[in-house]
């Protein structure tokens, strides 16, 4: 098993520290040294540091299996999920910082939850059903191919890595970000949603929407779930064009 790194390596962690609840909070980097163990992930490493060296260290993990999206953090400058980042893949010096863009809660912990909630509310990211649910009817049919396509974009876990990696999100506060645009595209493709391209146009074909993107596409490169964000942007741009022409 390739991920079981040889034990015995001494790892140095430099971790961003900041507790806004402290009386005179001072942001700084703090060093910790620990022994590497086989299959060591940042989930294991950070818990080891907290439980044996500094119990005040704040960070977020929940599922520790790369499905809940809690543990986005900057790992040697790259937005990553801490739980699935194995130390075996990293050099001896590991620098951890909180994701930018999001509000800092403390140390490595950031408020992705509120950001994503506001984003979803602003684009009404829910099914606008054509009619009320009928509990006595069989389900509406859907082609399995389409279901698979919807599932593909539904896989986003809102970890915030793409937003942290996004040049536009760094300076445009209201930019919906790659994850936000992916979610919009997901509902646009869903035939259960009654909104048509024209309804969507003002939501996504704007400066805060798909035209806010600078085209750097770091989002596509770092997405831990490997969402096809390039295709999402292409889809939205195409939709913007065809809808605008229809509107004329």
């Amino acid at each position: 098993m390739s991920r079981a790194s040889p034990a015995g390596r001494r790892l140095t962690f430099e971790i961003f520290r900041f507790n806004p609840q402290a009386e005179q909070p001072q942001p700084h980097m703090q060093r910790f040294e620990i022994e590497e163990t086989p299959y060591m992930s940042l989930f294991i490493a950070l818990n080891t540091i907290r439980e044996t060296m500094d119990p005040s260290l704040q960070f977020d993990f929940a599922c520790r299996s790369a499905i809940c999206g809690s543990c986005g953090m900057m790992v040697n400058g790259k937005p990553s999920l801490g739980c699935r980042t194995l130390t075996a893949d990293l050099p001896d010096l590991i620098r951890l910082q909180p994701l930018p863009v999001f509000k800092l809660i403390g140390d490595l912990s950031v408020d992705t939850g509120v950001w994503f909630r506001e984003m979803a509310a602003s684009s009404e990211a829910w099914i606008h059903a054509k009619q009320a649910f009928n509990p006595n009817a069989a389900e509406e049919r859907m082609d399995d191919e389409l279901a698979a396509t919807l599932y593909e974009s539904d896989r986003c876990i809102e970890c915030g890595c793409c937003v942290a990696a996004c040049g536009a999100a760094r300076f445009a506060k209201d930019f919906k970000g790659p994850a936000g645009l992916n979610r919009i595209a997901r509902f646009m493709m869903d035939p259960r949603d009654e909104r048509d391209d024209s309804d969507w146009f003002d939501v996504f074909a704007t400066e805060d929407g798909v035209f806010g993107c600078l085209g750097l596409m770091a989002c596509h490169d770092i997405c831990p779930k490997e969402l096809p964000l390039l295709e999402v942007y292409a889809y939205l741009r195409r939709k913007a064009l065809t809808t605008a022409r229809k509107r004329d």
Binding site: M1, S2, R3, N19, P20, Q21, A22, E23, P38, Y39, S41, R50, E51, P55, S56, L57, D60, A62, C63, R64, S65, A66, I67, C68, S70, R84, G106, D111, T112, G113, V114, F116, R117, A120, A121, E124, A125, W126, I127, F133, P135, A137, A138, E139, E140, R141, M142, D143, D144, A147, A148, L150, Y151, D154, R155, I157, E158, F187, D190, R192
Partner: protein
């Protein structure tokens, strides 16, 4: 002065059960507040992978399926420990739950008409799916079921369901507070009027007063430390604050499910859908030991049965030895890369990311690991907790009790939606029929108590043990003595050790006095609660001198329907050093106790007649003034139409 907030319905827990409940209450016009440890979409519901059971009967291998068959499978799975009326109610409502989720946007995998290729009992078979069924919701096979019944969205079913439900919560404008923790219930021993809450951003306490309070905080697998598939947030605080009232009992806490296939050594879940889709279990000699062990169901016997066979394999030296203990293999190679990268995509990714293997070419190291808490806050069929009016519970936090001593795979996801709706309805009715008994003094007192506990932790000094060392000791006690196979001597040892750990907890000292949420303090405030849950579990297991479902006693290997066809109720009276156990019948028996269709058939039969047994159930329910299950089923069915 503490902040005090008011709402009609307070829902503690932002997973599927809690949010489904909140949707029902909000749709009824109530003000609803959801509290969640994490942003709701990070709740552990998102980690459910393989499927959600509902008898739609849409594909060939599901042909003829119906809620009655689903109900019978569920009761058999429970080893007759379930409340059968609740199981029936559940099975009847499950199809609605799946379709409701479809309406909210879940991209369920659909039937493809024409030739489809499947793996069934070790062989590749080609089956012609009817073109008439094209586009309906597809099923996959799961353990312990007579038909293919699990509806699924690849291997991300829980994720898709949670996002759909949470989108509905957003649509309805329900207030959600994330990063908060309910620390104790506000009550007077008869009526619950809300909860004291701690903010996990700032560490500040506040109170929420409510007409009805629902606990939907999920399971408590973390009392097994790292020996669980559960998320770090599954520490059982909802069940604990109910137990801490002194009046509300927890049901069947000794009923603990071990999932056969957790990734070794990390404990990350690998879905049962792998075996449903044709995966094999292999031992060190690469033999399919389940074929001999369970000729009929093979790898798809119930989880308790498969986990026991796996434990025996490893005990007898057929495990693969590693520095982290032995494991067995899950073989998916024959399913092919295309299948693994679509229908089992999440499994493919977990294998790649966490052990660096491609399951299309390599074997997956697995071993049974704590997975699900059948036990929880004991509630009636309507979700109302015993002995405390205005308190409800739903989902894994509750003991409703459709799972008895073993839950079938895919039944928990379905339960969250079915129970969430029903309990939401009942909590709404309760809120409509009751005024705010908003006693500001009671709220303030409770808040001060909770705050005082935190202050005591921060003030304690000296060289006492660390909270993390105590947690590690608890984990070793639970996995070593309250695991898959249990014995009276081991369980007695567990009770002793846990009592010692409770004492250690009372003298433990924090290493950090950091202001704000202080992660060590946050954990310390949970530790005593976790130990109390662990102790209730070990004591229930010690007292139950039989083997039923996941509760397997080597010193009492038979299921004993004469003495133990009942449910354990554990209360912890305020001020007592130990909990008190009592028992109630499992409920009306429509299906007489019998063989499950897998596992051992030997058992001690009941001497009473079914009528005598059922008579005692009625008498008890009437005496307790609880809702009659029969009428309740009728009323739910009516409101469904």
């Amino acid at each position: 002065m503490h902040a005090i907030e008011n709402t009609d319905v307070l829902v503690i827990g932002g997973g599927l059960a809690g949010e489904r409940c909140a949707i029902e209450a909000a749709a009824a016009g109530h003000a609803v507040l959801i509290l969640s440890l994490v942003p709701p979409r990070r709740s552990h519901s998102c980690a459910a992978q393989g499927g959600m059971q509902a008898a739609l009967g849409n594909c060939v291998k599901a042909d003829g399926d119906n809620p009655t068959t689903h109900y019978i499978d569920t009761v058999r799975g429970s080893d007759w420990g379930a409340d059968q009326r609740v199981a029936r109610l559940f099975a009847e409502q499950a199809p609605r739950a799946v379709r409701e989720l479809a309406h909210m946007g879940v991209p369920w995998t659909r039937v493809r008409g024409g030739r489809n290729s499947y793996f069934i009992r070790g062989e590749r078979v080609s089956i012609e799916e009817s073109v008439d069924k094209q586009g309906l919701i597809m099923h996959r096979d799961f353990g312990g079921t007579a038909k293919w019944r699990a509806c699924y969205a690849a291997a991300g079913t829980g994720h898709a369901a949670l996002y759909a439900i949470d989108s509905e919560v957003l649509r309805l404008g329900i207030t959600v507070r994330d990063r908060v923790e309910a620390m104790q219930l506000i009550h007077d021993g008869k009526r619950c009027i809300g909860a004291v809450v701690r903010c996990l951003r700032t560490g500040r306490f506040f109170s929420v007063l409510a007409k009805a309070t629902v606990i939907a905080t999920g399971g408590h697998g973390r009392i097994f430390g790292q020996y669980t598939t559960n998320a770090t947030i599954n520490e059982g605080m909802g069940a604990a604050i109910a137990l801490n009232t002194g009046v509300v009992p927890l049901g069947n806490m000794e009923a603990v499910q071990f999932h056969p296939t957790a990734l070794a050594p990390s404990g990350i879940l690998i879905t049962e859908g792998c075996r449903g889709d044709g995966g094999y279990l292999l031992n060190r000699e690469l033999q399919r030991f389940m074929v001999d062990a369970e000729p009929q169901k093979q790898e798809l016997a119930s989880r308790d049965v498969v986990s026991r066979h796996m434990a025996v394999q490893m005990r007898d030296g057929h495990g693969v030895e590693t520095p982290f203990g032995p494991h067995l293999w899950l073989d998916l190679r024959h399913l092919g890369s295309a299948h693994l990268r679509t229908k089992l995509r999440e499994v493919y990714e977990i294998c790649r990311d966490f052990v660096g293997i491609d399951p299309a070419n390599e074997l997956i190291p697995v071993r049974p690991t704590q997975h699900y808490s059948m036990g929880g806050i004991r509630v009636g069929a309507d979700g109302q907790a015993y002995n405390l009016r205005g308190l409800f519970a739903a989902g894994e936090a509750a003991c409703w009790d459709m799972h008895g001593f073993n839950r079938l795979g895919g039944n928990s996801l379905a339960e969250t939606i079915v129970a969430g709706r029903i309990v939401g309805m009942r909590a709404s009715e309760f809120a409509s029929g009751h005024r705010h008994e908003a006693d500001l003094d009671v709220g303030t007192d409770a808040c001060q108590q909770a705050e005082q506990r935190a202050r005591e932790w921060l003030q304690r000094s000296g060289s006492g043990p660390s909270v993390y060392d105590i947690r590690n000791a608890m984990a070793e006690t639970m996995i070593n003595h309250v695991g898959i196979f249990r014995h009276g001597d081991e369980l007695a040892k567990a009770v002793d050790e846990l009592r010692q750990q409770l004492h250690d907890c009372s003298v433990a000292v924090l290493r950090s006095k950091a202001p704000g949420m202080n992660p060590e303090l946050t954990f310390a405030l949970r530790l005593e609660n976790m130990l109390r849950l662990a102790l209730v579990t070990a004591m229930g297991a010690l007292a139950r001198t039989e083997s039923r479902g996941a509760h397997s006693r080597t010193d009492y290997p038979l299921r004993d329907d004469e003495r133990w066809l009942n449910r354990t109720l554990a209360r912890w009276p305020t001020g007592n050093s130990m909990p008190e156990l009592s028992y109630e019948p499992v409920g009306i028996l429509d299906l007489p106790p019998g063989h499950r269709g897998y596992g051992d058939d030997a058992r001690i039969p009941m001497q009473q007649t079914i009528d005598e047994y059922n008579g005692s159930v009625d008498a008890l329910q009437i005496a307790a003034g609880r809702l009659d299950a029969t009428n309740f089923n009728d009323s739910v069915s009516r409101s469904a139409t």
